[in-house]
Amino acid sequence: MNAPDTAFIGKAVERREDARFLTGRGQYTDDISLPGQTHGVFLRSPHAHARIRSVDTSAAAQAPGVLAVFTGEHFRGVGGLPCGWQINNVTDGSPMKEPRHPVLADGKVRYVGDRVALVVAESVEQAKAAAALIEVDYEVLPAVVDAAEAAGAQAVVHDEAADNTCYTWAIGDGEGTAAAIQGAAHVTRLSFRNNRLIPNAIEPRAANASYNAASDEYTLYVANQNPHVERLLMCAFVLGIPEHKMRVVAPDVGGGFGSKIFLYGEETALVWASKQVGRPIKWTAERAEAFLADAHGRDHVTEAELAMDKDGKFLALRVHTTANLGAYLSTFSTAVPTILYATLLAGQYATPKIHCTVKAVFTNTAPVDAYRGAGRPEASYLIERIVETAAKEMKLDPAEIRRRNYIRSFPYATPVGLTYDTGDYEATLNRAIELADVKGFAARRAASEAKGLKRGLGYSAYIEACGIAPSSIAGALGARAGLFEAGEVRVHPTGKVTVFTGSHSHGQGHETTFAQVVADRLGIPMEDVSIEHGDTGKTLFGMGTYGSRSLAVGGTAIVKALDKVIAKGKKIAAHLMEAADTDVVFEGGQFKVAGTDKAVPFAQVSLTAYVPHNFPHDKLEPGLNENAFYDPSNFTYPAGTYVCEVEVDPATGVVHVERMTACDDFGNVINPMIVEGQVHGGLAQGIGQALLEHGVYDKESGQLLTGSFMDYAMPRADDLPSFTVETAKGTPCTHNPLGVKGCGEAGAIGAPAAVINAICDALGVQDVPMPASPFTVWKAARGQA
């Protein structure tokens, strides 16, 4: 009999979770209905900025089916929603302004969609009808929505930040950078905006909260990327519920992209209210609410200068960014335009001097926080736009200017605080050039021109810091949380294995990838392994999934637990085979005495661990169940080169992405099918940012003008081409045992600059703002800004 093939790492194994998703058996939060459940509806502010003179809920409270109506005053006794990252001012080291972020608005509303009241009723319809009966007397105040206009605006979002500034922060060598720019042979300057995006996971946010008076315990089902973090923040910082009295379950979650990381007021209010009404309360956001009240992404205004010598060798990069944080500080908002942005400004290049200042401002808009890439797309866009522009100004080939500046020896300490462990940037550039058939571009351009069209080619060579993060570094930089991950490997007596991970899958396919790692390491079939996640009642702890960290951090925690299982298994096997512990090796699912034909299979060792008749009781406890916490020693640094080719109709401004080529170095790859799928999705969001998507507020009224799928241009199937995606053989991460780096955000980080570089190349202009809509491109083709 042949041993079953248990080499799973590196194979495109079909996903195990697909069976339930394809047959309608997924269990998303809104699919869960609890006995006796009621329904919550939030009354939201119609104004961008207003003082609440009074709220009269008496008519609503008496409306049919209504159990309770809650407003801001009910939450005065609990904490505000916390911000997880403290940033200090560069001027005097003082901490950022951190105004209270109330569960429900109290005294003032600060953006359209701000939560004013929660109505709990027997049905959604009754709750909605009652919400319409709430009379709020608003004194409308001036509003400011644009980051560039926030400082000194007439509108003051929070009294404690009179100039609407949350912090002014800086990194790098200011004087050295200024001196290098002054003495440079050439300086390329660029100013631009990184457009506000609205995440729009197709599953809207949803929650179902209940309180059990018999056990004094709360249960929250919630569409969330990190249930333990949700529980910790809600219990310890806001509601004061003992953590062991609350269970948070994030079941199947229909996409997150960052927007489901954060602790929001909605689910917090539901948990608190569920005890008051004594019944479960369910709330599912309508899409209109998702547009108004999910945390948005990006929204930077930036000026950058790149100084170089006469040969195009970079000498210095100086950046000033104003970042829009919205009306309140969302959970990780403050880290995004600083720690996750400015630290990446070296990109793939050995630029010796870099300095970046960031002014973060409050505005009367939805809070802005991490959205796929979170800071790194903004950094990558900046670098790759200015490098490509510099190449044009220096009359150098865009690939050549990159070659002249690559970091080529590792580890490499950047001037902005990171140490890249490994990489080979020229390898992905060379391969991307082949895959994109750059050689054939001139002929394709001529063919386009013969049709009266313009064709352009653009590069983008991104790097990102993933696998966040070493807790000690994060802590030194202001993080108020650790960023490790936890895993548990529970071996059952029969040798079947249940793995509990603190990572959370909302599309990433952990049930497959993680099972591949476990089955491969233990030499057992994948069917013998199940992966559990998303439930604080099952998993010992977890920091969750964001920042492309699941496999690099969460996967490593599992590997460490597996190592402990194997180490204990060796001792048990040594006892069974009457050998020394040190002579036992584990390979192919068998514990063997090295150099002999003595072997016991994994399942016999597990059975012995639970039926310990013949067992080394003097040395070991029975059972085979191990857990591990893994805190990485460094970030991981995925990198790659993207090439975009566009055809532009100058008469209409319509841009067609003809080719989108991605060559990524993610280190080792466990499941190439899933990894490529992650890149595809990222590319679509990156192209969406470059061409289609824009969250727009009216400057006068502060109303969100892009509040539905009819106004906010989500990429659809016919907006995109098929992609050419290749994962490079790559440089394995040097500091985690799997050698993996993370692949979830790369596409969204690398794509926007490639697209805009291609459009600029096609039109022969220096800049085209994002999103490059037909009207914008049409104007650019005519030399109008």
């Binding site: 996903r15 309608g24 799928g677 999705g681 016919d718």
Partner: protein, 155 residues
């Protein structure tokens, strides 16, 4: 309230429904067939797509009572009785045409209709035919492949 009788996934069902009940609410809340999803409130995302008399229909855009006497197929009724996946479901799996799975039921129901009633002879035509369904995860790359594979398998 009014009495609604229709065939759902091959079985006749009768329920009392309020006149304003949307078909998708009827499917999800009354029948508890939660594979049909709601992703928007403007009939833009297509996550709620089901088959009404064999044609893809956004069930958020139709009242339950409009389905009186008609035949409804939801994602739960697409596979064979023995559990064998429909060729389009199988193609989505083998082509990795889904990630979070939320748009998937609607996407699969649209894809089946696309193959049965429309021209999907080229990638461009498939992309055109999928315009009514939003996916935020896959970038559509593998969905397009899946639809082409599924179309071949359905012949």
């Amino acid at each position: 309230m009014a009495l609604l009788t229709l065939k759902v996934n091959g079985r006749e069902v009768t329920r009392d429904v309020a006149p304003q009940t949307l078909l998708v609410e009827f499917i999800r809340e009354h029948l508890r067939l939660t594979g049909t999803h709601v992703g928007c409130d403007t009939a833009q995302c297509g996550a709620c797509t089901v088959h009404v008399d064999g044609r893809a229909t956004k069930s958020c855009n139709m009242l339950a009572l409009q389905a009186q006497g008609r035949e409804l197929t939801t994602i739960e009724g697409l596979a064979a009785a023995d559990g064998t996946l429909h060729p389009m479901q199988a193609a989505f799996r083998s082509a990795h045409g889904l990630q979070c799975g939320f748009c998937t039921p609607g996407m699969v129901m649209s894809a089946v209709d696309l193959v049965q009633h429309h021209d999907c002879s080229s990638e461009a035509k498939v992309r055109d035919g999928l315009q009514g369904n939003l996916c935020r995860c896959t970038g559509y790359h593998n969905i397009v492949k899946a639809v082409q594979q599924g179309a071949a398998a359905m012949k």
